[in-house]
Symmetry: C2
Subunit: 237 residues, 2 copies
């Protein structure tokens, strides 16, 4: 019925004003913000409050403070922001299957798009990631990071920056998802090779420029993983 009343901290009010100027385009990447002392005077608050606000935005990667020079608007498309977000989001134990479902939506489309759009350099990157994955099979390690690298190469070759950014957000979760999946899969003999071959089928279809085949190969791959997860109840602990 009644809720805790949360008054705004001074630093939040400072952040909001900076946000507003960014939103309106008054401040752009590369621009220098006014000095801390000026800002404190102008806003009628202490320099400490301004510093708290600037630290919050510095941490988010929105601003960059350079000692002796000033504080600058960073390039907001920076990956840092997304990476900071990912660090604090851990996968819900129940959410592995939901993430797989989302991956099916995004990565099947990405495979199809990659088949249509990937160039020679993209193919080379995928092939390299695939070689690393093959090494992982032979060395017997879990190998989720090269698995993730392969998938990232595919997404990057779609040449859709919005899609690539969305996958960056999810990347930490995806790596966790792969780690969990692989722990299960590798309990069954032959699954390492099977998994590697599924990735290889995806790659061959992309290289061949066959969108339909690439999409189907990715569906096969992700549904195989999904079935294994369902089979094991998706509870590694």
């Amino acid at each position: 019925m009644f809720q805790r009343i949360k008054t705004k901290r001074v630093y939040e009010l400072v952040v909001e004003q900076i946000q507003e100027h960014l939103r309106k385009g008054d401040l752009r990447p590369g621009d220098k913000l006014m000095s801390e002392r000026e800002l404190a005077d102008m806003l009628g608050v202490s320099r400490s409050a301004v510093r708290e606000a600037l630290s919050a935005l510095d941490f988010l990667g929105v601003l960059e403070s350079r000692q002796g020079e000033g504080t600058f608007i960073a390039d907001v498309s920076s990956q840092l922001l997304l990476e900071h977000l990912a660090v604090f989001v851990t996968i819900d134990r129940e959410a592995n299957l939901e993430l797989l479902e989302l991956r099916k939506i995004l990565e099947v489309a990405a495979a199809e798009m990659a088949a249509a759009r990937a160039g020679a350099l993209d193919h080379e990157k995928m092939a390299e990631a695939l070689r690393l994955m093959e090494q992982d099979v032979h060395s017997g390690i879990l190998g989720e990071s090269n698995d993730a690298l392969f998938h990232r190469c595919i997404v990057e070759s779609t040449q859709n920056k919005m899609l690539t950014k969305s996958m960056v957000l999810l990347s930490d979760l995806v790596v966790q998802n792969m780690r969990v999946s692989r722990q299960f899969l590798f309990q069954r003999p032959g699954n390492r090779e099977r998994l590697y071959n599924q990735h290889r089928q995806v790659f061959l279809a992309i290289k061949e420029g066959n969108s339909e085949k690439a999409g189907r190969a990715m569906v096969d791959h992700l549904e195989f993983v999904e079935r294994e997860l369902i089979c094991y109840g998706s509870r590694p602990e």
Copy 2:
């Protein structure tokens, strides 16, 4: 060749230590952090530095500071974090078409899933959003916020939290995209009604439980928008 050397700020080091405890599970949502003064003593830094770190994490929604009580670990699955991220990401002028492509991937899948999974309450919410959209048509306003509401109702009815969260991240961009699209579309007579009807077709298919039809209706809708944007060169300014 050589790059600027960026030394770590004290507040960042404080954040990292807190991060580490969160990552290891020593600190969980609801736990109370040690007091600022204790933390400053223990870490051998000033209380100001601790405050800067706590402000950054408070802003991210990771912590919650309560005056007189202490600082607590927040529930990290909070939407606040995603919303803060979205506020700082503005759409690239060239990116409208890319976003539409991403929306096609996500929202066509969402429409199909919604047809399969939506319950009576979901239908009611969509119908209400549709009524609001109809009002917007009659009153002649741009109407992007109710458009966005309708789309959000669909995504929520998929019952996939990962997908819903991803759309939350994109929601500010999507609203911007709708605003731009509608400015173009409404220059051509009849497009208001056509747009409304497309949404209605999506809703009817979902209500009917027909995934294929829902997906197709959503494709039709988004491709219609896409064609108009391409036609106008996607440059409103």
